[in-house]
């Protein structure tokens, strides 16, 4: 039997063709299966290898005339658990799925005991000789068996419980780093879980002996024979697999997409995107998110993300638990997250866990990798725009480490090399730095500290200098209590975003303008495990906002600009939350959460009070009310439900439903379609109410071919209230009476999202299609506050059809190619419907808002990747990436605009990348 187990490794569908073409005629009546097989051996060159007990004794009948072995066997085993493989040399191996492990047959264990490590490696080496794709599943089955038997817990006399909880940490045995997204599967029931960013896992296992398989990308798949006598802990030390080049696919959450009770969740692992074509050589995890259903932006090069028909300000970007306000560089062309230090991002676009709040549409939870606690390591990338270096070093071996990543533009060469004189005098540069310290204080205490700073500088006209920066620091302390059923995390964070404009013209209007927002949050999150079925998260958080909405100062004595400071705004946002992940049965699980959020706009402040039922303007101002420091100006708040449920129809097919509602107390002021660095954040106050949203979602999740394909179909319907919009021509910056320019309206969005992912094999990738609509309604009794007659109209980012294909093909271990194709309906625009003469000049008359659309968007990118050699002893591992962005040279319009020049109207369309852009990036790791 050993022979067969090793051989299964080589199995491929391709091989079946070799002898499969032999035509066989056979007929039998009321024969046992084994006899039929023996007959087959007689009349053909095939030899069968099997375990007798697998074969059914029921009599079979059949008549096959000139059929292939394939056809005969398929029919023969149709109603059995038996799979077959036809080998090159005519050997046919029968296997029985799952059942092997269910009973843990004696021969199996003996076999494993005999194996040595070389036996594991050999077949993998051969793999390339056979030109076979990687069959992770088979590899797992065949090569790695249970590593001895582990007994968990002391056997109680009272063995009343049927299930016990196994928990622990998974670490890379070489680097000591936690392994995130490691899938732990209970073989037999296919019940499973995956590890979090700290490598922590929890899995409920039936009492008695169990086989648990641990697998993750780049990690050697391992099985453990665990005998559960009680709840207990098992820390896993796992080896890197020979597939350590890691760029193929993520295998981690193999079943979690089906099992997870939460709807609308997307996870992206940085390794997963390594080969995706790049823009100007920058790997960008958030840009990859755009290829997944439900996440889009206004257009190429636009900053800001629209999640399920929401505005760009409705996303909570967390970098190691601290808010990052503007995660973009260079107007959104690049994201401000360093791709080498980022571990992964989890995007909650449907049901947001109750511990998060404050934004309507989504949470982008970005985590930074922990540093290497074993040895010094680093990674360097050289691209056309930026250079990037990441270093990791242990501080106390196996206990603490420090990781630092820095990235910066080389120079302004792109601008300098341009033909346009105006732009040659411009400059633009950016950099970001991130540092993370992680410390395992003892068995029960972990500490993580992250600091981050990013900055952009640019000067486009000779008389202005512009810069913006993000700064954040976060601290997290995890404590596991004695009974190991309670884990507490204390999180403190502070984030700031600021921008500054200096204008030095020649009139009396020279000025220096600044904006800043600062928030400090303290959060306590508890996780408790009650019994075998409940995992309860609860806690509370408090956040203090301080906004300096703008100050303008004269730049020189001649300037007639008065020093103007829009008064500081302050707000307090607090929340308590509770959620229970309740596994009712193997098939049915619930995630029920409740959050109560409370917001208070704090003084000192002067608030303008306007007449009720009248348009807000200077004329309807009733009084200006003064508030003292820390006096509550206005309070808002309410309960937020976070509910989702999963029902498994079969282990790899589930249906999920979700409902959630959210409040948002902070809003961006932006009259741009896209997010822009000059967008300012405004707190809710007496005149501006919080935004609210309600979403229901329904999803179907199915895995095929043993997890090789993941297919999901999700739908949602969302309503929102008090969405911000503006009167036409509103002046948003430095406006002391901003509320007179703001409109608050209703939003409505719905969509259907289809995603199929192929996770393994030479060809992998995904295909997503979304049909989604998003509408806004701005209605009022007053003409100037009503848009489009007060009816629903498509929002700026309403793009009904959105298709993305990301495909990755691995030619050999060292060479791979990828392609990325995107198609989207053009976004709505307000189009000119004619011209008119006014004041002796011609002007354009516009249609109702967003009545027309710009042309559809499509783009194809290609890239080719080459890994350095695979020698074990070498200084560094290198990686080349050649990308061509926009291969088709499609001139995708970014915007359409109209200009009156000399009394004549001209229409223009601008695009960002109208020609194919090739780039080369070189990375090396040491």
């Amino acid at each position: 039997m050993k022979k067969y187990l090793v051989m299964t490794l080589f199995l491929t569908q391709a091989l079946m063709a070799q002898q499969g073409s032999e035509k066989i005629s056979l007929s039998f009546e009321n024969k046992k299966m084994e006899d039929v097989l023996l007959d087959l051996e007689q009349i053909s060159s095939f030899r069968f290898y099997y375990v007798q007990s697998w074969l059914k004794d029921e009599p079979l009948s059949g008549d096959y005339n000139q059929q292939t072995i394939d056809e005969i066997l398929t029919s023969l085993f149709r109603d059995t658990e038996i799979n077959y493989y036809v080998l090159d040399d005519g050997k046919v191996i029968l296997t029985r799925n799952n059942a092997i492990y269910d009973k843990v047959p004696d021969f199996f264990l003996q076999d494993i005991a005999l194996k040595d490590s070389t036996a594991i490696e050999r077949p993998v080496e051969k793999e390339s000789t056979y030109n076979a794709p990687i069959f992770y599943k088979e590899q797992g089955v065949a090569t790695e068996g249970p590593i001895g038997t582990i007994r968990i817990g002391r056997e109680d006399n009272d063995r009343g419980k049927q299930n016990y909880l196994l928990s622990g940490y998974a670490r890379n045995s070489k680097t000591g780093r936690p392994i995130e997204d490691l899938a732990l599967v209970h073989l037999g029931s296919e019940n499973g879980t995956s590890t979090n960013a700290e490598g922590f896992y929890e899995i409920s296992l039936p009492a008695g002996p169990n086989l648990v398989e641990a697998r993750a990308l780049g990690i050697q798949t391992s099985q453990y024979r665990v005998i559960m006598y009680n709840d207990g802990e098992l820390n896993l030390e796992l080896n890197e697999s020979l597939e350590a080049l890691q760029e193929v696919v993520v295998e981690g959450n193999k079943i979690s997409n089906v099992r997870q009770p939460i709807t609308g969740i997307t996870q992206i692992d940085v390794e997963e995107i390594k080969t995706i074509p790049l823009v100007l050589g920058e790997r960008d995890i958030l840009k990859v998110a755009l290829t997944l259903p439900g996440i889009s932006n206004a257009g190429e090069g636009a900053a800001g993300y629209n999640v399920r028909g929401g505005r760009t300000d409705q996303n909570l970007f967390l970098l190691d638990n601290a808010v990052i306000y503007n995660p973009a560089h260079f107007f959104g062309l690049f994201s401000a997250l360093n791709p080498f230090t980022t571990g992964g991002v989890t995007i909650y676009k449907g049901n947001i866990p109750s511990e998060y709040g404050g934004r309507l549409s989504s949470v982008f939870d970005v985590t930074t990798k922990n540093g290497n606690t074993e040895k010094f390591a680093g990674e360097v990338s050289i691209g056309p725009v930026t250079g990037n270096i990441t270093l990791e070093t242990p501080i106390v071996k196996e206990k603490s480490s420090f990781l630092i990543g820095a990235r910066g533009t080389y120079s302004d060469w792109i601008l300098r090399s341009l033909d346009t004189e105006e732009l040659r005098n411009s400059s633009a540069s950016f950099y970001d730095v991130i540092g993370k310290y992680s410390h395992k204080i003892d068995q029960n205490n972990d500490l993580e500290v992250t600091g981050y700073y990013s900055r952009d500088n640019f000067s486009i006209t000779s008389d202005s200098i512009f810069n913006f920066s993000n700064r954040l620091v976060s601290l997290k302390w995890d404590h596991t209590f004695k009974n190991e059923k309670n884990v507490a995390s204390l999180i403190a964070s502070n984030s700031a975003y600021r921008f500054n404009i200096e204008f030095d013209g020649d009139a009396n209007g020279d000025f220096d303008l600044g904006y800043q927002i600062n928030e400090t949050e303290l959060k306590l999150r508890m996780k408790s495990i009650f019994g075998e079925d409940h995992i309860v998260n609860y806690g509370l958080s408090g956040k203090l906002y301080q906004v300096e909405p703008g100050n303008v100062d004269p730049l020189n004595p001649e300037s007639n600009i008065a020093s103007l400071q829009i008064p500081k705004e302050r707000g307090l946002e607090a929340a308590i939350f509770l959620s229970d992940t309740y596994t009712i049965s193997e098939k049915f699980a619930l995630d029920v959460g409740l959050r109560y959020s409370f917001y208070a706009a704090l003084g000192a402040s002067s608030q303008r009070v306007y007449e009720d039922n009248a348009p807000r303007d200077d004329g309807t101002l009733v009084e200006v009310r003064e508030f003292d420091t820390n006096e509550f100006i206005e309070t808002y708040g309410g309960p937020e439900a976070r509910f989702s449920a999963r029902y498994s129809i079969t282990p790899d097919f589930s249906i999920k439903v979700g409902f959630n509602n959210t409040y948002q107390y902070i809003h961006t002021l932006s009259n741009n379609t896209t997010a822009s660095p000059t967008d300012t954040w405004k707190l809710s106050d007496l005149n501006i109410e919080p935004q609210q949203a309600y979403q229901v979602s329904l999803g179907l999740f199915k895995n095929f071919n043993d997890g090789m394909y993941e297919v999901s179909l999700e739908s949602y319907y969302k309503r929102s209230n008090n969405i911000l919009d503006y009167k036409t021509g509103a002046q948003l910056l430095l406006n002391e009476t901003i509320e007179t320019d703001i409109l608050q309206g209703d939003g409505r969005a719905y969509g259907l999202e289809f995603l199929v992912r192929k996770l393994t094999g030479r060809l992998n990738g995904w295909l997503g299609y979304t049909y989604a609509r998003s509408f806004v309604r701005l209605d009022s009794d007053f003409n100037q506050e009503r848009i489009n007659g007060g009816d629903y109209f498509p929002s700026n980012f309403d793009k009904p059809h959105d298709f993305s294909l990301v495909a990755n093909y691995k030619f050999t271990k060292r060479f791979s190619g990828s392609a990325n194709f995107v198609y989207q309906t053009g976004r709505p625009v307000t189009f000119p419907i004619g011209t008119f003469e006014f004041n002796n000049a011609d002007f354009v008359a516009f249609s109702e808002r967003n009545k027309f659309r710009i042309p559809d968007f499509y783009r194809l990118d290609l890239s080719f990747n080459m890994e350095g050699n695979h020698k074990i002893k070498k200084f560094a591992h290198s990686f080349w990436n050649f990308s061509i962005y926009n291969v088709l040279g499609r001139n995708n319009p970014y915007s359409v605009f109209f200009v009156t020049e000399d009394g004549e109207i001209k229409a223009f369309q601008s695009s960002i990348f109208s020609i194919p852009i090739p780039t080369i990036t070189y990375n090396f790791k040491f």
Binding site: G301, F331, I414, L415, L423, S426, S462, D463, I501, F503, G505, D506, A507, G509, F511, N560, I561, D617, N671, N672, T673, S676, T678, T728, G729, Q731, L733, L734, N783, I787, G789, T830, P832, I833, G834, T835, F836, F838, N839, N840, A841, V844, F846, S847, R849, S895, F897, F898, V899, T900, I905, K906, A907, F908, Q909, S910, S911, I912, S914, I917
Partner: protein, 404 residues
Amino acid sequence: MPIKKTLGFSVLLLLLSGCVEEFIPETKNFESILVVEATLTNELKQQEIFLSRTRTFEDILPNKEENADVRVTDDSQNEFVFTETQPGKYVSDVSFEAVSGSSYQLEITTSNGRGYVSSPVLMGQSIEMQDVYAERITNQNNNEGMAIFVDSFDPTGNSRYYRYEYEETYRVIAPDWISSDLEGVPIPPFRLEQDCNVRISSEPRSPDKRICYPTDFPNNVIITTTKNFDEDRVQRFPVRFINRDNYIISHRYSVLVRQYVISPEAYDFFQTLQDFSETESVFSDTQPGQLFNNITSIADVDEPVLGYFEVASVNERRIFFNYDDFFPGEALPPYADPCNRVAPPLQDMETDCVLRPLIEAETFLYLQENFEPVNIEGPFIVVPRVCGDCTVLGTNELPEFWIE
């Protein structure tokens, strides 16, 4: 508005090999919309109101709104009726002035029977400009030339929003004016064959064609606000910049600057109008849409109407300067036309006339005889008409206000 200006960067993103292309939009779903242009001022005069309609991009001719009933009422129940004097131009039957503290309302009934009414607009106080002056400057685009600045100050701090208009009148001297003209040799009656000959006319060219005083009414929206300033003081506000190589300042130049004190709403309207016509920038896309205005259709509140009924105090000031005052001894700007000299032949190969029709159509004017014709050149050197006759550019009558 200085802040706006800063943000008015050109489209930055084109720097990444992108491009900005002009295209001709098609007018989609055209519906003609009434456009109202009405400014009542505190000048005692026959006030004027202009009505037109939007037209498609393909239409070139203005689309005037004719035969409408137009009247303005004030809050003392006075009614001022307007009568159409030219297509689309309506003039009040009597002279009147908008009085500070009174409010006015515009009512229009178009020839198709639809009624429109404005919201009542209050006439604010009037203030005087302190100064209008010209200076030789180099502007931020590194161009040298003349700037016309305005200073204004409202000690009460109530004005805050300003709109400017200007009209400029300038002396031009036709550089190639001479006292004689060419004419075709008269063709006797009943003679059929053509005669391509021209001769120097016995009638001299009028000296009135040498010096002219054209007047331009530029069409851009010029607004500013002192909203963000300590004092309600407009200082060195540039109303007009004239590049030094513009022929209009070659001799003597005069500009009349009119300052309107407008309401915040009117400011918003003009601001939006201005935004609509400016280059979009990365930082300040203007969300276009239907312009807010203070005129609505009585029958259908949702019917779009364009334009604005404005009631504003106006104040004007005229200044003059000579080129020599600021550019003493420096070369004059080039004339409006390069004035290339040509000597067309009398006849071409096909024996068709060449020079004679050009002279008779007054496309070219005589400059001098061509004593040494080369190749097929004709006997007379001529120049484009504008070089010898400035009335092409504007009137030759000395304006009444003109001061030397």
